[in-house]
Symmetry: C2
Subunit: 253 residues, 2 copies
Amino acid sequence: MLSVVLIGAGNVASHLFNAFKKSESIAISQWFNRSLDAITPYKNEVEITDDLTALKEADIYILAVSDDSIADVSDALPFNNRLVAHTSGSVSIHQLSKKLKRGVFYPLQTFTKGAELDFREVPICIECLEKENLQTLKSLSEGLGCKFYKINTEQRQTLHLSAVYVNNFVNQLYRIAHEISDAKNINFDILKPLIMETARKVQEMSPYMAQTGPAKRNDKKTIKRHLKQIENEEHKVIYELLTNSIKKTHGQR
Amino acid sequence: MLSVVLIGAGNVASHLFNAFKKSESIAISQWFNRSLDAITPYKNEVEITDDLTALKEADIYILAVSDDSIADVSDALPFNNRLVAHTSGSVSIHQLSKKLKRGVFYPLQTFTKGAELDFREVPICIECLEKENLQTLKSLSEGLGCKFYKINTEQRQTLHLSAVYVNNFVNQLYRIAHEISDAKNINFDILKPLIMETARKVQEMSPYMAQTGPAKRNDKKTIKRHLKQIENEEHKVIYELLTNSIKKTHGQR
């Protein structure tokens, strides 16, 4: 049994709490938050505290706090030489206090407050400075049923950047399509199966192989007609930029 | 039973053939292609022909040919007043020959040669000029188990444009993330669950509501660090443009 103390009460912490609860090989010893309000609803399920000096001993402390607080909270921990892992995609492992055994446990997924998510589908990026702590991070991932990947800080920051492209930017393209179709009274539902299939295709083949459409074919007639159709100047600039990017990728310019 | 003659042998035609075959309320009377080679493998499953004058009578003729051929092929059909529907997202219904009862049967999905697809998930955009033909187009959609939507030519062309954003452009963002992560020896598999979840989220909530990330929060520190990380000038321009687009959508500028 792996004992865990959870620190923080944001989105990632809440999802981790629920996932830890479900695991048969993980025991949540304690849940800390600087304000008890956020975790009080869970007081019958787990021991809660807002007092750092009352922290129990555990195999691993999961620091699921905001990026800017990681250094300070880790400094404030009232012990040395215990394994503490933060959950951030962008913060260096070296921002954790040197007095600790430092680790990273970064679940790469988009967490929506209140929305159910099968945590077993979440890849965990793990990192540590001393080899001896690797097994604990692996066991924690496995205890959640997750795939884990050994990822160093530079790689993790690159993943965090890549995630902005495949999540935030992709979602903004969905938004633009929503705006374009709304303007002609078209039900956005019609585009939903295409959105799913586009995501599904790259689970099995590379995005390079999956590409189709007028830009890849360099179908000038269709591109010209589309540009004429677009009423919003910003949508037009995005159309041109991504069309050129596809052309370049596929050797059309 | 609805009798159908299928004309053309491209990607859409092949997928339609397989879907028609599975339906209990649709009978494929004949499959025409100007060259027999493409459809000869199916000769034991359906009557095939390369002779327009040999076309049988049917409730509906599905013209699944390239956009540029629709007008010519419809002109060349050796009959009048029968229902002929093309399958294009961008061609006006008026490009079909006036001698025919004209319709559109546009399945909005990305079709990959050889890849299996559950056709029941494909929304069909239907259009016709005479109300009397609407029922046939509806029955054909229902025979495939598909949802259908009455969509006029202008709306269909707008959907075709929107599909470029949610399919081709989204896929190019996947490609860029692939390039960025490859450069640091990161396994692209790590991003796949996030890609799926991002698509899944907008099945249930609007893209506006689903947005998260540094641009939406106007997290200048993270945006600045990301821009510093990006090594490719084109990737940087796309990052800036889509970040500004998100900011604008969410009132951050």
